[in-house]
Subunit: 243 residues, 2 copies
Amino acid sequence: MAKQPARQSDKFSFDVSRCLICSARNLNMCGALEPEELAKLSGMARCETFGSGDVLFHEGDKATSVYNITDGAVRLSTTLKSGRRQVIGFLFSGDFIGFSDRNEYPWTGEAVRGAKVCRFSRGDLTRATQELPKIEHRLLEMASADISAAQDHITMLGQSSAAEKLSAFLVMLSRKAATRGGSGNPVHLPMTREDIADYLGMAFETISRCFARLESEGLITVESIRVIRINDMDALADFSDSR
Amino acid sequence: MAKQPARQSDKFSFDVSRCLICSARNLNMCGALEPEELAKLSGMARCETFGSGDVLFHEGDKATSVYNITDGAVRLSTTLKSGRRQVIGFLFSGDFIGFSDRNEYPWTGEAVRGAKVCRFSRGDLTRATQELPKIEHRLLEMASADISAAQDHITMLGQSSAAEKLSAFLVMLSRKAATRGGSGNPVHLPMTREDIADYLGMAFETISRCFARLESEGLITVESIRVIRINDMDALADFSDSR
DNA sequence: CGCAACATTGAAGCTTCTCAATTAAGGTGG
DNA sequence: CCACCTTAATTGAGAAGCTTCAATGTTGCG
């Protein structure tokens, strides 16, 4: 699924060229640093592998680590008292997890269908930023990109119909895949219909119906349950009406 | 409406004690700085006053400034191609506007019923952060708080019924008002029903009906069109089910 | 190969929206 | 200060879209 094989072992070596890349905007936390500075960061990372559905951390756990995804996909979600679940985001190779003003994780992180990550101690990262202010600058850029993404999510949830939301979701996944290399079409969906539904704030049955409707209108082709071909990217983006 | 009178003139003087406070979590960008550093920042600010409905900046304008609200309220919103509007947030005294990874403003900023702001040139702020890394650290904390707030907004939009959303909105406004001083009850609403509707992703008629319903259930009292008394804060927060 | 989880499809019901009419509030000019 | 006019808010009725519940089909893992 991921284009780039994970070159590092799951023990201690670390490929600094992939360290803390924020794929949303292709911001690389290490891009501004000198080689010896990179070495310092790489020594802090611990690489880990998770199987399908494995939990990286639970909502409410003490937030001791930040993560950089190197392969696979991770789902962030919160669960309300009533049991309803909101999926906050799906993170892929290159994405960063860790922005929060709270000392506990505000969401649960789970591997969607397996994932590899690099884990950094929050304390280590804090100490490193004191020596290397450039890191903080990068983090601020990445956080700003996160804010933009969250606000796009808000607009979609607030103003779009079910079919528009699903269209916007497919366009977003396609674009994100393209930034990781490749064409981004067809779109590969590692997550279930229920995951998508909880991301878009609707029932999973409605997801099915919207896939069928978009297909009947010729905008997409459901090549298999997890592979969606976008027949006309501009038309689909236009239909989604997401600015 | 604002508890603190704006002490600075609308020309050039600047009260550093109110500089760039992020009221969402009471993070003060200047808190970590020395007096002479504060002086540098204060010299960068230009204070401005806006009347009801006045536009601070338009979506798509070149983002040359960042703002700190010192009085009144500002509404941030985006408009889709179809004309639908999403209100991203309401900002009050102490709140900060400016996080974006784009060179253009991603939203329109308008004074709700009049507002006073301190404006900083983005370039000036960038230069200042190069000399004072502490500022960047504060900005990162503020951005993290922004991300948390956006994710709460997402969860509310995705998982809550109309009445739950309105309850959560009232609880949030009450808490924000309390951080600015005062009891936060009754809640004062500077914005229209349509503004609230576009923030919560529903029709403004539904806002009216939900106010009526919450009142009939005894949770609130609509003292006047813009003043809502929360009769039982815990019950309302519980009803809103927002974690 | 078989079972359990996931996905699709149908039908009925409910929440919310839309359209429309009425009432209330706010601002302006006399 | 009041009358008027415009904008905002409320309320009602009908329609639309989405959800829920249920049955069936599909996928994939052990």
